[in-house]
Symmetry: D2
Subunit: 114 residues, 4 copies
């Protein structure tokens, strides 16, 4: 049988995959970044065992992208996101984050505390 | 060759399909409805020719759904959305809306004005 | 009142926005491109007034992208898609296509025939 | 530091959240169920550490839904999906499944084997 800590980590992964694939592709600009980040936080916090989600939609990186293209908006993707989450399951607290690792938006398990 | 009015209607349709299929499936509760609606409005207003989007995420209908199920959140779908949009293309203004028609969330072309 | 041709163009736009924003962000590689394209076609053909959808997921462009990055898959986005659609509404046939125009995946209204 | 088993469970959760929220809301009918299921399998198998995904899009349940509504297609949601996945990370094999538990599509961690 999986342990509570393993179940907590599974739950943490679900939230990350959900957040990313629900919102990837959303039209985004520096002006709309804040409302999108807030909606992402509140949407995923609805999911079971999800205590806290922090999403920083990186307006600096979006602005850099827009400077190099013709349209004045782009699509949300991993390099525009810094995310932290805290999940609690059966007394286990899991902290996770997503950050760019070279060119890949890596979802990381930071700590698992019982 | 398509007319400007026809092109304006095509643009209006794109915005509606985008809004619906980007956000359908998002975890939503009465408490998170407002931030989701605002993010939907601002995201789609980024798209070309899109002047104004109004999204009312229907907390009354979400509450009714939650009363009949075990989880305390649900997934965004058409019956929780009232949407109005205004698109302008080459001097043509198109107004559109989405509302429930019996059990189907119908996207409607309201007016086309040159 | 909008004309039948205008309504047909609105319907055509809905299908394009739906296709793009439902599937943007899907993990894709040259090997999985064919099944994804077929699923996109059949999914959108379910929608009302949608007679035919052809999706070519461009494995050549995906392979170019993979050659320049560390991961062996990427996310579906407009530059990996060539799409054609035929919509019929009240006797009006609308043909549409999506292709790259410089760096932007432009959805185009090709012909409107009554 | 998280264990390899915990990391494997986190990876397994990511795949489940991705699969669900990428494809929830897709227009689906009994005729298009098979191509959608295959695309879901192949898309998620692209993700790191994902060895095998099996998706059964339940045409029986879709047919029941269509019998009770006006449209001849519906939107993909959890009750139309039976999913099994196998993830391998650093020598740990994780098996997961999604099935309906009363009215909720529960994602379950089945086994964790080192």
């Amino acid at each position: 049988m999986p342990t509570d800590a393993e179940r907590a980590c599974f739950e943490a992964g679900i939230k990350f995959g959900s957040l990313y694939h629900q919102f990837a592709g959303t039209p985004v600009s520096p002006d709309s970044a804040e409302s999108l980040g807030q909606a992402m936080e509140e949407a995923i916090e609805n999911q079971p065992h999800c205590v806290d989600v922090t999403v920083d939609v990186r307006t600096d990186r979006i602005a850099d992208e827009l400077a190099a293209q013709s349209a004045d908006y782009t699509e949300l993707t991993g390099r525009f996101l810094d995310v932290e989450m805290r999940i609690q399951y059966a007394g286990v607290t899991v902290r996770t984050a997503m950050e760019m690792e070279d060119d890949y938006p890596l979802m990381k398990l930071l700590t698992v505390e019982e």
